[in-house]
């Protein structure tokens, strides 16, 4: 493919050669993308929770709330990140069956997956997942319910702050609410390929 | 703003480019333009040799033909006085389109110089001369069509300022104001189906607002919309804003 590389770079150079001046890179102030309808928040979790609800996500502040949600919907089989399970297991009733290894041959056997978030963005209600911090990409995606476990100090104010703090990780995912589509007649349907329910659990 | 780089207005001597549409069809719009400019204290020179701005050929893709006509305009409108047009679209041809067509021509500078002193009438009154209110009475509910070639210019804000200052004028809002009426010059005859469908949508929105008349700073849009409305057997009243201003000031 090296010849294609040369062909492309040669034609790009030839295309640009006649330009007398080349466009400078404009600088811009991140204040410009400040969403003015959002009041500056002192409590980033409160803002995050409010924005997450706007995209039909589910913010929770206690494991007991999560258990109540799971029981109410009869979501009784799930996966939990083995590193998180010790801190949750006392709160979970015996009727909810948890596995700490995700078996990709049985994707439909899991109603929910609990994994760790690496951060969040308050302004957009976004959860940040990383490859290093997520125990299983599939467990955070394939079950109907995804629970991302978040700590208060991990929340960034806005997109610019989250970009400035992008960790050195090969696969970072920002998740803003449940998976969705409006392909069929513009009607909003949630839970297309990913979760239909996106939970952020504050611990 | 498309026409931000303009020569400041220092005197009140102006040249009038009546536009081919007013020259051929809308004579009263050109008359109203003269009377309005005179009311604003201007002395008007009407170069007899003028024809057209070149836009039909430019938009039609025949830039060779367009350049001939633009060059004729450059030869006709000499000197340094502002050139005023009762048309947002012909004005935009002079201050924007012509520069594109002359990008690689040796006389680009002259073409651009003409562009910098070319003004759409309402823009000139408000942003050139500093007029902020207009005298007289004109009791009517007016729907103002936003002619597309005034996008990015001060014309619409200027028009609204003047219209709203006239006693009795009520500017009524209507749906999808940013949408084109469907005229588009030669587009209207090479895409007659789409052009007409666009016109029908525009008319539907305008009629829903129940105005007494439809006004614009471009008679080409008005020709298309009133022609369509009349063809359908439901004529609508259309006026150029200059005619509204002229009629208002004569009704004090």
């Amino acid at each position: 493919m090296s010849s294609d590389r040369d062909t492309i770079l040669t034609s790009v150079r030839a295309a640009l050669a006649p330009l007398k001046d080349r466009a400078a890179l404009p600088d811009w102030d991140r204040e410009l993308v400040h969403v003015r309808t959002i009041q500056p928040a002192t409590d980033l979790w409160a803002l995050f929770a409010e924005r997450l609800k706007l995209v039909n996500g589910t913010p929770l502040t206690a494991v007991s709330e999560l258990v109540a949600l799971l029981e109410k919907n009869n979501w009784r089989r799930g996966y939990c990140d083995p590193a998180l399970w010790p801190q949750f297991k006392d709160a979970f009733p015996a009727g909810i069956k948890i596995e700490t290894t995700y078996d990709r041959t049985r994707v439909d056997d899991y109603d929910f997956g609990i994994t760790a978030a690496a951060g969040a963005i308050a302004e957009t209600g976004t959860l940040v997942l990383t490859d290093a911090g997520t125990s299983s990409r599939l467990a955070a995606l394939a079950p109907w319910v995804h629970v991302a476990v978040l700590r208060r100090e991990q929340i960034h104010a806005d997109i610019s702050a989250a970009l400035a703090a992008l960790p050195n990780d090969p696969n970072i995912i920002w998740v803003t609410g449940p998976s969705k589509t409006a392909d069929v007649e513009g009607i909003l349907i949630e839970g297309v390929h990913g979760p239909g329910v996106q939970v952020a659990l504050l611990v | 703003m498309l026409n931000a780089e303009r020569k400041p207005v220092t005197g009140k001597k102006v040249q009038l480019m009546a536009t081919c549409l007013c020259d051929a069809i809308y004579a009263d719009v050109a008359k109203a333009t003269v009377e309005v400019l005179e009311h604003a204290g201007c002395t008007i020179d009407f170069p007899e040799g003028q024809t057209c701005c070149g836009q039909p050929a430019f938009n039609g893709g025949d830039w060779t033909a367009a350049r001939k006509v633009v060059r004729h305009a450059v030869r006709t409108f000499t000197g340094g006085d502002p050139v005023i047009l009762p048309s947002g679209s012909c004005a935009a041809m002079m201050f924007h389109g012509a520069s594109l067509a002359f990008e690689h021509e040796p006389d680009l500078a002259e073409v651009e110089a003409l562009g910098r002193r070319t003004w759409e009438l309402m823009d000139f009154l408000v942003n050139g001369l500093g007029v902020t209110s207009w005298p007289g009475r004109f009791p009517a509910k007016i729907a103002l069509h936003r002619a597309c070639h005034t996008r990015g210019t001060g014309s619409i804000a200027a028009t609204l300022t003047l219209l709203r200052s006239i006693q009795g004028v009520e500017v009524v809002e209507f749906g999808e104001v940013e949408q084109c009426c469907g005229f588009g010059g030669t587009f209207s005859v090479s895409f007659p189906n789409v052009s007409t469908a666009m016109g029908d949508l525009k008319l539907e929105h305008i009629r829903a607002a129940k105005p007494d008349l439809l006004a614009s700073v471009d008679m080409s849009c008005m020709m298309h919309l009133s022609g369509r409305a009349a063809h359908e057997g439901h004529p609508i009243k259309t006026m150029h804003v200059a005619q509204v201003l002229r009629d208002a000031m004569k009704n004090t």
Binding site: T37, D131, A132, R137, S179, G186 | F46, L100, F183, P192
Partner: protein
């Protein structure tokens, strides 16, 4: 004088299709505009800055491309180059064959549509399945997308339900929720069986070598969670200089495309999965695709390469709304397509030379473009090109201008014509064999000719 092809297509479009395209585009456009202007103090400044950033990238591709290549390689990705569509298809096939791979899941990528990848792979015995719901429906129907963000904007739920039934995806049921669930069940098995996940990239940061992908459905994420190989097809124009510039572009893209603050899934991918991660690709291949782009870069329409594929221009375009995407006969419809498609066609430009005519030059596309592409100016330049090259498709329906220009440069003849034109007030114009006049009069009345009247009045005032 024939009418333009797109006008003929629009006239033949069934009313219900036109209504659904019109309603969807209008509603998305209105939500987009409200959101941008409610939320940002200076949305137009943002558009201009984003355009400036992308223009900078285009004009520095000669240095930025090798720079991002090195970054990607350092991150552990393998970089390939494809000068043409054929080379891009061959590169994908080569990677797959070398690994004995036979199954691919595809996330939505416009460049794969452009190079007709799925079709090519199928010919070579590889299953290449579209996973975006709309693209999946297009694929099973052997149809084409008609909008770059909403591929099935032209289809209604009944057509989809019929198609699902025909392809064994359950008994007829036209409830959108049921349609979506059935696709979910069917496709997740496909992800798990696939050897390769193919994606595009919305942006590639030169600073960090991260590919940025945005989707709402989560299909690209699934394509990067189950298969062991990731191939990304990336147009050479997709670069952004710095990670921080994404703050501007992501904010604009989501709002412009779908009136969202942020797309549901925004992924930053800089290499194969980490060692501790059980799921995801062990190899990442990035294929930089030219396929005509460097020629566009050499043209005076290079600004079109700023495009971030949001679809806002087609949503606002009155011609697209009347004609729908298929009228444009190419992968990229609407105003952006009317510029990009004829340019990417290269020597086949004459076959698409009519597309730049499909505009009233109203400028709405430029007004909404998140990277401020002066689309009307580019359409005009291509009209000039079409005329210079004598492309018959471009000429159709446009009255010849040579004689008119002659008249408009001779004031005496002009004045005589103004006066003489009055004859049309007395002639039965409906019977005259003048095509532009007929095209006008078929649907609109002619105004009364008053040629010379103003000049007479003006002269009279001078004397008094």
């Amino acid at each position: 004088m024939a009418k333009q092809l797109i006008d003929q297509f629009a006239a033949a479009l069934p009313a219900d299709k036109r209504a659904s395209v019109y309603q969807s585009t209008k509603s998305t456009h209105e939500k987009r505009t409200k959101m941008l202007f409610d939320q940002f103090a200076e949305p137009n400044r943002l558009r201009s800055l984003a355009g400036g950033i992308k223009q900078h990238v285009l004009e520095h591709l000669d240095t930025l491309l090798p720079e991002v290549e090195a970054k990607l390689q350092a991150n552990g990705a393998k970089v390939h180059w494809a000068a043409t569509a054929e080379a891009a298809c061959a590169a994908v096939l080569g990677i797959m064959q070398a690994r004995g791979a036979t199954k691919m899941v595809k996330a939505k990528t416009m460049v794969s549509e452009e190079i007709e990848l799925a079709h090519f792979l199928e010919k070579h015995g590889i299953e290449a399945l579209e996973t975006d719901l709309g693209e999946f429906i297009v694929q099973i129907d052997h149809d084409h997308p008609s909008h770059i963000v909403r591929p099935i904007i032209h289809k209604n739920r009944r057509e989809i339900a019929t198609s699902f039934e025909k392809h064994g995806l359950g008994a007829y049921n036209d409830d959108p929720q049921t349609i979506t669930r059935r696709a979910r069940e069917f496709l997740r098995q496909k992800y798990l069986q696939a050897d390769v996940g193919l994606t595009g990239a919305n942006f590639v940061s030169v600073e960090s070598g991260r590919l940025v992908l945005v989707t709402n459905e989560g299909n690209s994420r699934f394509s990067l969670a189950a298969p062991k190989v990731h191939i990304a097809l990336v147009g050479i124009e997709k670069l952004v200089p710095r990670d921080r510039d994404l703050g501007l572009l992501l904010n604009l893209l989501a709002r412009s495309a779908t009136a969202q603050q942020l797309t549901v899934y925004t992924e930053f991918i800089s290499g194969p999965k980490s060692a501790t991660q059980p799921d995801g690709p062990e190899e990442m291949h990035v294929i930089f695709v030219d396929n005509g782009r460097s020629e566009v870069l050499a043209s005076e329409c290079r600004e079109i390469l700023r495009c971030i594929r949001c679809g806002a221009c087609m949503n606002v375009c009155p011609v697209y709304r009347q004609a729908s995407g298929h009228a444009y006969r190419t992968v990229y419809p609407g105003p952006v397509g009317a510029v990009l498609s004829p340019l990417l066609a290269g020597k086949k430009f004459p076959e698409l030379a009519d597309l730049p005519k499909a505009s009233s030059l109203c400028g709405a596309c430029n007004e909404v473009c998140p990277v401020d592409i002066p689309i009307p100016d580019l359409l005009l330049r291509l009209r000039d090109k079409g005329k210079r090259e004598g492309a018959p498709l471009a000429a159709a329906g446009t009255p010849p201008m040579g004689a008119w220009a002659l008249l408009a440069t001779q004031p005496t003849a002009w004045k005589a014509a103004l006066f003489g034109g009055k004859i049309i007030n007395y002639l039965p114009t409906k019977l005259l064999p003048i095509p532009p006049l007929r095209a006008w009069e078929d649907t609109r009345d002619l105004p009364e000719w008053k040629g010379g009247e103003f000049r007479k009045w003006m002269k009279g005032r001078g004397k008094s």
